[in-house]
Amino acid sequence: MNKVLAQQPDAASAAAAPVIEFRNVTKRFGALTVLDDFNFAVAPGEKVTLIGPSGSGKSTVLRILMTLEPFQEGQLTLAGIPYHEPNGKGPFRASDRHLHQIRSHVGMVFQSFNLFPHMSVLRNVTEAPAAVLGLSRAEAECRAIDLLRMVGLADKKDHYPAQLSGGQQQRVAIARALAMRPRVLLFDEPTSALDPQLVGEVLGVIRNLASEHDLTMLLVTHEMRFAREVSDRVCFFDKGRIVEEGEPERIFTAPAEPRTREFLQSVLG
């Protein structure tokens, strides 16, 4: 009964409370500590960008949120739901059902798109709403077509992923994630696998999404100009901790920490 209350925070407190909250989270891969006593919160509707050097643990933060990686210590909540259950078993310390419930609030866009190659574009976007949310085929297709239109690919609905460019595939992947209507959408370097001339079209789609004020977005990107443009907050991440965070203007023009300055100099040239 306790659990039910925790899972359904009332509207007023949810608006004030962070939608994502890491409290003293520690994540290790064997002997390697990737997140060390990590604290981080994101407000509902906030667009946050994580920047930082390679290997600093940015992807790990997103993968933990997506329940692709377990963590060892501390607490994490998403929309008020704690990731660990009191008597949870296994590496995730939670039942499959509990993880299923967490995942219903969060979606992810991967660096390498990860579309299902044996399914048409339409099927890629309708499969989860039909199978997981229980939408009828017709409803799922209706939703999918709307989303494909939004990412400018309605005319490609019967193509297979292999028949699309990388930029188009990533736009389909974004539509696929949105079809589940997540509250939180995670982007892990969504343009890093793309040829330079295809980056723009994907960033364009994400930029439009950023104007949706209900959707919480957590982005990892190396596109600094883009980060500056779309985010409410930029976090500079190094060695499993947030070294500095703040409004994009300030981080990019007047970073306080020497490590941030160094990093920005190395990527901005």
Binding site: N114, F116, H118, V132
Partner: protein, 221 residues
Amino acid sequence: MDWLTYLPSLAQGALVTAWITLASIAIGAALAFAAGIARVEGGRAVSTLALCYTEVFRGTSLLVQLFWLYYALPLVGLSFDPVTTGIVGLSLHVGAYGSEIVRGALNAVPVAQREAARALNFGRVHTLMRICLPQAIVEMMPAFGNLAIETLKLSSLVSLISIADLTFRAQSIRNITLDSATVYTLTLVGYFLMSLVLMLAMRLIERMVRRGAAFPRAAHA
């Protein structure tokens, strides 16, 4: 024209060979999927059980397995007719080798596909049936084609548990006529023709699977 008189008997044997081979491929494929999926997706107990099955039947000779089923099982009160025994033995053998094909192909599906499925909140069964297997099955087909031919060839061992298959008939005729060259030439041709048909059938199935995997909606309807 002696060889013409051998044909009816050899043809009867070929029918028995065909029946045993096809039944063993069908049952063996079912076992292969069950054991292969158990290895990849099962909990510790289930996957260990599947591993034991695979290793025991891959690690011992089919001939000894057949003898064991034929001579030893009746001692504990289980006896089947020879053809059933042959099919059981051959199926277990095919299943063991096939499970390795299934396991390998499932493991070869990129981890990223499972992660994408997870991010979309698919359950385990759905991930297996709709994401992993359709991609893996295409990769399995060439190896399954080889295994099918192998099964046909191995089926000649059932002649040693007194089943009147093609090999058994050939030996009987030779024992009477001593016309080894003719009899065994005909037998070779017989096996070759059957494997040709099997090969063509497997190609056809492979093509169907490829198409089915690429158009899940059609396969669904």
